[in-house]
């Protein structure tokens, strides 16, 4: 009953006209960003973040969250019609979605993606509501050693589950920690790595860093490659899936929803891994696995359900423990802190309006997305026809305005450009930006909890190992960090014995 009362309270906040408007703007921008290759939800959130400073914290987080799950809906449109994923979590939808479109079933694919996402989003929100309160209560037992351990574990998991080289991911996390230390030390106020540049005393701002690393670098790579996507010339009809489609896809949607939710909760998991896993599971358990890759509707329904459910799951550790499980949540974390609200176990107690208003808005947002995505698909197809030569200067301009407007300083624009160059070089040399930005956001909290723990224990390092939660978390984190070293040493020994 408590949960129901809280939900009604949340709905009373989210249906206020300004919150409804910002929810709509968020999901619309999110869908647009998901449809358009070249800019993802991280870039979009970073660009719009400065514009939210004049809003209330609830309106701001409702809009920014709307961009996140809206992008999951929009990403499937380009995957199905153009065979280019609008964003990373829709990569696997290309495999069967585009094949369905080639066979004249684009409408069924698009419709199933939208409905599957809606059902999964709803189930994910139910999971969020059920898990949030008990996890928040558990989080109240956390002290500085537990926070240090869990954050270290989260960073280790993100690097271990990275798409590319684990060694490079660990290095990027280390770079993120170093970058987070630039500026005045939080405890003694000593300037660190500021090189007598006054603008660095406050440290590097997350917004220009994220915009440069993800937004500007993506544009530089796209302009350099000058790929011109071809939109499939097919009539889009019958957007409502048939009964036969539902019978085939219902299991995939259910499994994708559950799998996606738990992958979203897991640090380092997230929508992309959830969709990939869902596709693998569906192909493995299917009675007709040979149909996958040739237009199997389960290959669209499962991953799309998984990626949307993962977005709800990701909010669980973010809101209840204050630990962002992936890059996007890290950016949202920074956004909430800028508005003076700290996610964590006390969020439910100190700011129940933010928590329940956000959760309720996610359901309202999912309804809006279903309404936006089904009849407006022909409009999104027209959006895809906007030439990239017009699109990329606009995106760059939005990035510049977004960076400038933080402190009315061109220094932040230069920071954005610098990280744009760095992100571009990362793509060339095959490094990932995700571990860097996660470590950058979590670095100050990690350091604060480390130093607080040692102050409380009067310098006794065993404080981390006598408390069970921090002990388990730190041991698993160290194991994940040591594993790549061990496999490297084993490989080195094999090379030596082969050479001998």
């Amino acid at each position: 009953m408590d949960i129901l009362h809280s939900l009604f309270y949340g709905f009373s906040i989210c249906i206020q006209p300004d919150n409804l408007l910002f929810c709509f703007v968020g999901v619309l921008v999110g869908t647009l960003v998901g449809v358009l290759p070249g800019i993802g939800p991280i870039g979009a959130i970073s660009i719009l973040l400065p514009a939210t400073f004049r809003m209330s914290p609830i309106s701001a987080i409702i809009m920014l969250a709307g961009i996140y799950y809206g992008a999951m809906y929009g990403g499937s449109t380009t995957s199905i019609l153009v065979n280019i994923p609008g964003e990373a979590a829709s990569v696997v939808t290309c495999l069967d979605g585009y094949e369905m479109a080639k066979k004249g079933k684009a409408g069924s694919a698009l419709g199933m993606a939208a409905f599957g996402s809606f059902i999964a989003g709803t189930l994910g929100l139910i999971g969020l509501v059920l898990f949030a309160a008990p996890l928040a209560a558990f989080g109240l037992k956390f002290g500085p050693p537990e926070y240090f351990g869990v954050i270290l574990l989260g960073l280790s998991l993100v690097t271990y589950l990275s798409h590319g080289s684990v060694i490079k991911a660990i290095m990027m996390a280390a770079v993120g920690l170093i970058l987070s230390c630039i500026g005045l030390d939080h405890i003694q106020a000593s300037p660190r790595m500021t090189f007598n540049v006054m603008q660095l005393w406050d440290g590097i701002d997350m917004v220009p860093l994220a915009m440069g690393l993800f937004g500007v670098s993506e544009i530089l790579v796209s302009v350099e490659e000058a790929a011109k996507p071809e939109i499939l010339k097919t009539k889009i009809r019958n957007l409502f899936p048939t009964m036969a489609d539902w019978m085939k896809a219902k299991g995939a949607i259910a499994r994708g929803s559950i799998l996606g939710f738990f992958m979203g909760v897991l640090p380092g998991g997230g929508a992309t891994i959830a969709s990939l896993l869902s596709y693998s599971v569906e192909k493995r358990i299917s009675k007709e696995p040979e149909t996958f890759g040739k237009g199997a509707i389960e290959g669209v329904a499962g991953p799309e359900a998984a990626n949307n459910s993962a977005t709800a799951g990701a909010f669980v550790p973010f809101l209840t423990l204050g630990i962002p499980p992936n890059v996007l949540m890290a950016v949202l974390f920074g956004a909430l802190v800028m508005h003076g609200i700290r996610p964590g176990p006390f969020l439910l107690v100190k700011h129940p309006d933010v928590f329940w208003g956000l959760v309720s808005s996610m359901y309202v947002g999912n309804v809006m997305l279903l309404i936006l995505n089904i009849p407006l698909i022909p409009l999104w197809v027209q959006v895809l026809r906007i030439p990239y030569r017009i699109l990329f200067p606009l995106i760059l301009l939005f990035c510049v305005i977004g960076s400038y407007s933080l402190k009315n300083s061109n220094f932040d624009v230069l920071v954005m450009i610098t990280f744009g160059i760095i992100g571009y070089l990362f793509r060339k040399f095959d490094y990932e930006g995700a571990p860097l930005i996660l470590a950058f956001v979590l670095g100050p909290i990690l350091e604060l909890n480390l130093r607080q723990s040692l102050i409380l224990s009067k310098g006794d390092f065993s404080v981390f190992f006598v408390r069970p939660i921090s002990a388990v978390a730190i041991c698993v984190a160290l194991l994940l960090l040591i594993l790549p070293l061990v496999s490297f040493l084993v490989r080195l020994a094999k090379e030596r014995s082969a050479g001998a």
């Binding site: 514009a51 004049r54 080289s165 060694i167 490079k168 290095m171 280390a174 770079v175 920690l177 170093i178 230390c181 030390d185 003694q188 000593s190 300037p191 660190r192 790595m193 500007v216 544009i219 530089l220 302009v223 490659e225 000058a226 030439p387 990239y388 030569r389 017009i390 990329f392 200067p393 606009l394 760059l396 301009l397 510049v400 305005i401 400038y404 407007s405 009315n408 061109n410 624009v413 230069l414 450009i417 744009g420 160059i421 060339k428 040399f429 095959d430 490094y431 670095g443 350091e447 480390l450 130093r451 040692l454 310098g459 390092f461 790549p484 070293l485 490297f488 490989r491 080195l492 090379e495």
Partner: protein, 151 residues
């Protein structure tokens, strides 16, 4: 030189520089970490794994791209133009102002990938500047620099 060897050496040098800077601000000890503690430990991890990366790359028998191949056949000159124009934009923005400088930037960038007729670029740049001015300055109250034109 293999890419991973080059990047590994780069990160190793960065790690050494960060260690030196961390030592300057006082690393402290495990019992009493100073301001330089976290960057020092992070730099050790970065440098250590940088060495692992270099050795891994040297031992790998598969051929890897050299740095020249990274840009082969690609429009890297467009990237340089974009970056140079953005840097100039950032430096001149406070003095020249948003309206004039953004118009010039858009005029340039709209012709980077393809080259439509000049009047098309002119009109598109003008519409972009006016629309963004309306949205960001008038509606969202972003304080864009006035520069040469007082608005």
């Amino acid at each position: 030189m293999k890419l991973d060897v080059l990047s590994g050496i780069f990160w190793l040098v960065m790690a050494i520089l960060v260690c030196m800077e961390s030592a300057r601000v006082d690393v402290g000890s495990f019992k009493s970490p100073g301001p330089g503690f976290l960057p020092f430990v992070a730099a050790l991890i970065l440098g250590g794994f940088g060495i692992v990366l270099v050795i891994n790359a040297v031992l790998k028998k598969t051929r890897q791209d050299s740095t020249t191949n990274l840009w082969k056949g690609l429009g890297w000159h467009k990237v340089i133009i974009i970056l140079a124009s953005l840097i100039a934009y950032a430096i001149l923005l406070p003095s020249v102002g948003y309206l004039v400088l953004t118009f010039a930037l858009m005029l340039l960038l709209f012709g980077i990938i393809e080259r439509p007729r000049f009047w098309v670029r002119l009109v598109t740049a003008l519409i972009t500047v006016l629309a963004t001015y309306l949205v960001f300055y008038m509606w969202l109250n972003v304080q864009l620099p006035k520069g040469l034109i007082d608005f």
